[in-house]
Symmetry: C2
Subunit: 220 residues, 2 copies
């Protein structure tokens, strides 16, 4: 039983892939996307460490440079600044147009090619940044589209074990399952010391605080 | 009014983008994907000539080398031979896993970023090679997924004007609309002279024959 796990290097996708292996019993095909994001190098390093730990069956590091070419997000565009003032209403400027649609389509191609039955993605709906491609409605529709657009014998389930978790539950569960949190990276803008003030750092720190645990990564 | 047109360099996508501009009145954002297919160079050349003719507003040539990295198709894999014995039952070995899902996801990102209202793709359902990602059911589900996975104010229609056409109708209509058929390329395996015997050449030649027109491209 094989599952394609999309692993960004962050805490959520690390936990999601640990659930695939440790709870649901899948062999892991680890997939990572480089797309010209500002912390590309650090995330790739985290990915390899997590994939090592998971003893991944196979590893795909795919270059999606075209995402930066399309542009439109503070995660990729030089002239856009990652906001650090706290999460605001609406869709943040860090939103990368239809990113998870692109990620899931590619993961579906890999799953079909490799004979995997499931794709794990660490999206979080409620307690997150409010990206439209992280919603349950989207995931369900994408699953239906993948089912219809692949071979009749191909059956791929989209698994989102973190969808309705709060950040503190993610920290707690990751800690219970032995996810190497010290090797995960969440910061949107820095690669040596996490900034602590971008939306992603704020959500992470809030999760650790509410879980009553200490975040092992270094902050500025 | 802007539309993203996916233009491979073949006859179908050329006609589809001509319909976008000449019939439906959209300004064209021309998008081409290189994915390590055996005729990549020739298709790119055709794309630029078609986009020139359409006076495209903007042009995106995106590198999807990861598709060849994933593998699984005779269009990309060195060790797989493009069949030349005529179309057989079932899904051909030229099928690239979930290719149109990947193409449409990326086109959706471009459309959202550029404020385009429609995506044109030259898929043909009945009179084609039988790829699962060319069916109307798939296109409808993908449209729903794109709608749910992009910003609430983003509305993108997927337009498939060739979906139910036969190849001879495509040739006829292309000829009527002034599509430069001499600049389109369909062959799966050769770049100088079309082979005439792969599935794509066979479908093209059948279309011209039934339309009573002569194919202007050179064959072996």
């Amino acid at each position: 039983m094989k599952a394609v796990c999309i692993i960004s290097g962050g805490m959520d996708s690390a936990l999601s892939s640990y659930i695939a292996k440790e709870v649901d019993g899948y062999e892991v095909i680890a997939v990572h996307f480089n797309y010209g994001q500002k912390t590309e190098q650090k995330e790739l390093e985290s990915f390899h460490k997590i994939a090592d730990e998971l003893q991944s069956l196979k590893r795909f590091v795919l270059d999606l440079g075209f995402i930066a070419q399309i542009g439109g997000s503070a995660l990729t565009d030089e002239d856009k600044v990652v906001p650090t003032g706290g999460l605001e209403e609406g869709i943040p400027v860090t939103y990368v147009p239809f990113r998870n649609g692109i990620f899931l389509s590619i993961a579906a191609a890999i799953a079909e090619r490799e004979g995997a039955e499931a794709i794990y993605i660490g999206v979080v709906e409620e307690d997150s940044s409010g990206y439209p491609d992280c919603s349950e409605g989207f995931i369900k529709m994408m699953e239906a589209a993948i089912d219809r657009g692949t071979k009749p014998q191909t059956k791929i389930q989209l698994k989102t074990p973190l969808l309705h978790l709060k950040k503190e539950q993610i920290v707690q569960k990751a800690s219970e399952l032995g996810v190497p949190l010290e090797w995960t990276w969440s910061c949107y803008q820095s690669q040596d010391l996490a900034c602590g003030v971008c939306d992603s750092c704020r959500l992470r720190l809030k999760g650790f605080a509410l879980a009553g645990l200490e975040d092992p990564i270094p902050y500025q």
